[in-house]
Symmetry: C2
Subunit: 269 residues, 2 copies
Amino acid sequence: MTEQHEPPTPGVSGKALGKDIPQATVSRLATYLRVLTALSDEGVAIVSSEELAVAAGVGSAKLRKDLSFLGPNGVRGVGYDVAKLCTRIEGVLGLSEGHRVILVGAGHLGRALARYGGFARRGFTMVGIFDHDPQVIGTSVGELIVRDIRDLAASVGELEPTMAVLAVPDGAAQQVCDALVAAGVHGILSFSALALTTPPSVEVRRVDLGVELQMLSFEWTRTAAAREDLPAAPPSWVAAVSTMAAVATPIRRVAEPMAPNSKGTVVAQ
Amino acid sequence: MTEQHEPPTPGVSGKALGKDIPQATVSRLATYLRVLTALSDEGVAIVSSEELAVAAGVGSAKLRKDLSFLGPNGVRGVGYDVAKLCTRIEGVLGLSEGHRVILVGAGHLGRALARYGGFARRGFTMVGIFDHDPQVIGTSVGELIVRDIRDLAASVGELEPTMAVLAVPDGAAQQVCDALVAAGVHGILSFSALALTTPPSVEVRRVDLGVELQMLSFEWTRTAAAREDLPAAPPSWVAAVSTMAAVATPIRRVAEPMAPNSKGTVVAQ
């Protein structure tokens, strides 16, 4: 699961910077950017909204709605200029200058993330990696040498990162987060399950891989009964979940009209 | 970013299994479960909605709304029975029986994921790991030995996984996905940036770590102007983004009333 730091209090922030694009649109903009970059690499100069929608796996109406947040785009009957649309999305996502990223926690996950090609391809350059373990400090991860976390403040001054990735045990996450904030890092991608406390000027995104599997489990359970190969005698979890569902009314789609006997209100998340 | 496979066509699936709980609520249920499990480990038997809300980092009204999807919970003035609420959430998320998980792709990320403690703590047991590289097959990852991907079908029959984690290069992702589906795996957590094509009975969740950093970049940019330590001469991306924002109207909060001169409709995502 990903979770976002609460937005800063109204009136404090720079309001004009694309603040109110819905988060789901932002994530789809990132997907469009990936597709557009691939098209550009193949030498494609113009793409229709239908082609782009299919390649991104969304409906073309949703695509046009998403791109409308960027202002006027494309020419009716012609399509979108691939290079211009890339530049525009990169601008809104704050990617135009690229990002310098440091990583704290050189364990299995941290070392894998430090070498993860998907970061570099998106313009995120890993410039430093830190740990507290004397046996790990000084070892190499790809082209980087693991630095001592105690040198974080001085290293941030030298490396000038715009973001940090946090891959430390839960017990150390808040302390390391505080050190990053004190050193002047304002964007943190955390792989800790814990919610981190930071000042409003610092943005934190949390990727909880365990929750991702739990959400997959929910969807997997939801469609279990539909599968042709459901065993003749359903496993015990089916009964357990059916019991749950029986007491779990009202459960309905947000977009559906409310039934008169509904016990609760349904809100868009 | 995480992305979800489109739900199966209406009328095909088992409708009663908690189908229509909003995804944001599902992710928060997973968070409540983590907090409740920690409370249970500490011997806490009863928790108030306020205490649970604070520990989970959400408002208590939202917490009560989320839990209302589970049916009647708690006793007014007393609170929630920690153990019962755990069981109930586990039931809805399909976690009651735990999950057996296989992992395909024993590269850096795959090896890190195979040892990731956050999976086991949530009831996901890693039972097998696969790769196609002869130099990797037979090596150990934690307590597992990497198996040959060509033995996938037979191994699935033996290991009986309910889910698979996909950590292979983008170019191999669809092919491996097809093999998993053919072998009878119905839940896939994919770390590939590509959208995967699967039958409606198969659930796919996609974790694109590059998009996570891009979404962090968006938020980071959004709050940049608010920071006290903004340099006297803003870096060039500020100008670029301000230009973007100037052409990007209407950009507004979903919950805000529409201005009369709004050019587009705003939909809840």
